[in-house]
Amino acid sequence: MRWAQSLRAVTGAAVLNTILSTGALQAQTQRPVIVASKPFGESYVLAEMFAQLLESRGFTVDRRRGLGATEIAFGALRSGAVDVYPEYTGTGLVAILHDTLPDSVLADPRAVFAHVSARFSSLYQTRWLPPLGFQNTYAIAVSRATANRYHLRTLSDLARESAHLSAGFTADFIGRSDGLVGLARVYGIRPRVVRPLAPAVKYQALASGAVDVIDGYSTDGLLARYDLLTLVDDKHFFPPYEAAAIVSARLEREEPRAIATLILLSGRLDELTMRRLNKRVEVDREDIATVARSELTALGLVGAGPATHAVTESRQSGFWGYMWERRATIGALTARHLLLVAVALLAAVMVAVPLGLGLERTRRIAEPTIGALGVLETIPSIALLAFMIPLLGVGVIPALVALWLYALYPIARGTYTGVRDADPDAVSAAEALGTTARQRLLWVRLPLAAPVIMAGIRTAAVITVGAATLAAFIGAGGLGEPIVAGLALADTRMILSGALPAALLALAVDGVLALIERLLAPAHRRTKLWRRPIRVDNRQITSPSDV
């Protein structure tokens, strides 16, 4: 159900939207408010609360969940592609502003908030709404057993024992000056081993004893699930990470009433509440929309609606049961995924095939040009998607452009090589007998190059199906949505509910193109799928004496 909602939300192209949303669109009299989140559980919950609160006051809402990371989410907000998302003052300070503040200011969350919100409004014309009421700071966590054994309560205690302990930290925490680097400087924490770990596996690594110390967030639901102890930051090293809604200049200008609505949440969520909500989502696997609605109701911000029948997944039903329950959603996501791939691939064919043909006639620049397209392939997808945001915002359009760019190289390469190497004897004979360059292209080179061109297109198609899962990071939807959300929530079933259909889709697309390839193969290499009528007309054959 929630995927169907986000399906409706996530779009830049009205046409695609209409095709896919199967009547779910409401009559819209005003521009929808675009609510986004970053790809982790708490951000999903807060964004959903913003969205439902706005909807309860009559606003239409578009949800863009799981936007890449801070750069992508904030980039989208700044460009006006997104109206509001939950952010943290410490992140704004360190990751966006890159400001350093004196310790006396850092120790005071209110002073940090004042600094950050003033700087954002002058630099970026974006506004921080009053804080929601809780902090989600970095938390250095150990198991209760480790804490007891080494008598750990504070980070200073940890520094004393760190030479005996192994750590598993997220990669960015290891490198950041407000992460391990700073901890080493301020506390002298130097673990025996530091392993870079993905957020989703950190907790399992600690639980299984593979590492002794991990970084986490103070409101993490998983801290409760694994019964971990967070160590006290006794030297106030970490800046305060106060959660707040950050809104675009555009929303403030056009919809002051929406701002007033969002402010209703300010100061209403304390740390215990947030940890409890995160636990319901991350540990108990409750539906995000349900959790958000029940909390809004409990806060008296939303009337107890009818649609709160528990969507808690039947965990007993097993993986296939889970997939079956979500079949409609998965089908819709697959259709959208396929549409993204088809549009990007078609556009790439329309550009790269003529390009390859043109390069064959100007071979001097062929290799440099194709080489340049090849360089595009080496840009990590996330980076390419991030580059798109300042130019094209978030949603379907930048995703299509990125996928299109990735598909160009294999198709252009296949076309160029195929046409260049097509049976040189046949081409030269055709020339010597008086065919024009165009006739040689259409009658000889293209038909003979068809298998190589199709190989390029098939490669591009499979790449595109894979890359399109990343489109979810910039809010374009598709099968990447459950993958991104599943990664954020450490929910393997959810990841698989996107990854498995994506893999099957790649196979299916390749299979269909293989069939097309067979039909386009030069006649002499075609397997006997169909037969051309033989063009011998015996009545016209006359005796040699007639010649």
Partner: protein, 249 residues
């Protein structure tokens, strides 16, 4: 129908390499001339001047006493037959369609019939061979189809570049016989490139020996054998003879 061929003081360079160094040549209408020489002698370059696949740097090329530059290359090529060493049949077209190519290019109404007639002339009746793909034929049959393709539109002139060079000895002898008959029957003016002096003697009335972009000698086979103009021609004849004698002894 047939036309004469002439080259007058033709010069052509590929970069710094002089491929043709003032070459002159005449082929009377309906006659056959073979250009003989080793690789790099310029023989193929000279042949390709006649249908403007090569544009000489200097000198003139005449077909039927008309400078070839007065005709659009595409039109010129459609009026001249051409066979190359590896046939160059379009592998994805069936035999009949391959042979129809030039008649279709020239917009002939009876392209299909013209192609069928040409196939009959080379001994591959369209009813049996027309619907095959080139890869379903033997090497000799493929060269026959290439020959049929080059004569289907009834050109007055045919250019052949090592047409039988890639065939086994038996197919080669067969095809040489068929070609000679065909040429005489159709009165084709023929210019042929070969590295094989014996083949030249069998197929042509006149022989031109080329070396390093120049003509060493031009005359009938008998004249070459009796009075070789240069030591190179004498060597060439000696080698051809030496190849046969041990077998005849």
């Amino acid at each position: 129908m047939s036309a004469s061929l002439s080259a007058r003081n033709v010069v052509h360079r590929f970069g710094n390499v002089v491929a043709l160094d003032g070459v002159s040549l005449d082929v009377a209408a309906g006659q056959a001339t073979a250009i003989v020489g080793e690789s790099g002698s310029g023989k193929t370059t000279l042949l390709r001047c006649f249908n403007r696949l090569v544009e000489p740097d200097a000198g003139e090329i005449l077909v039927d006493n008309r400078d070839v530059r007065l005709q659009h290359p595409v039109d010129l090529r459609r009026s001249i037959g051409y066979v190359q060493q590896h046939g160059g049949l379009l592998p994805h077209w069936r035999v009949l369609r391959n042979v129809e190519l030039v008649p279709v290019l020239r917009g002939m109404d009876d392209a299909n019939a013209a192609a069928a007639r040409a196939l009959d002339l080379v001994g591959l009746p369209a009813a049996d061979f027309g619907s095959r793909f080139p890869h379903e034929l033997s090497g000799g049959q493929r060269q026959r189809v290439a020959l049929a393709r080059s004569i289907a539109a009834r050109p007055g002139v045919i250019l052949l570049d090592e047409p039988f060079g890639a065939l086994d000895a038996i197919s080669r002898a067969d095809l040489q016989g068929s070609f000679t008959e065909l040429r005489k029957e159709l009165g084709l003016t023929t210019l042929l490139v070969t590295h094989d002096l014996a083949e030249a003697g069998r197929l042509a009335d006149q022989i031109v020996v080329m070396r390093r972009g120049k003509v060493e000698q031009h005359g009938p086979m008998q004249a070459l054998v009796q009075t070789p103009a240069t030591s190179y021609v004498a060597q060439l004849i000696e080698k051809a003879r030496a190849g046969l004698e041990p077998l005849l002894a």
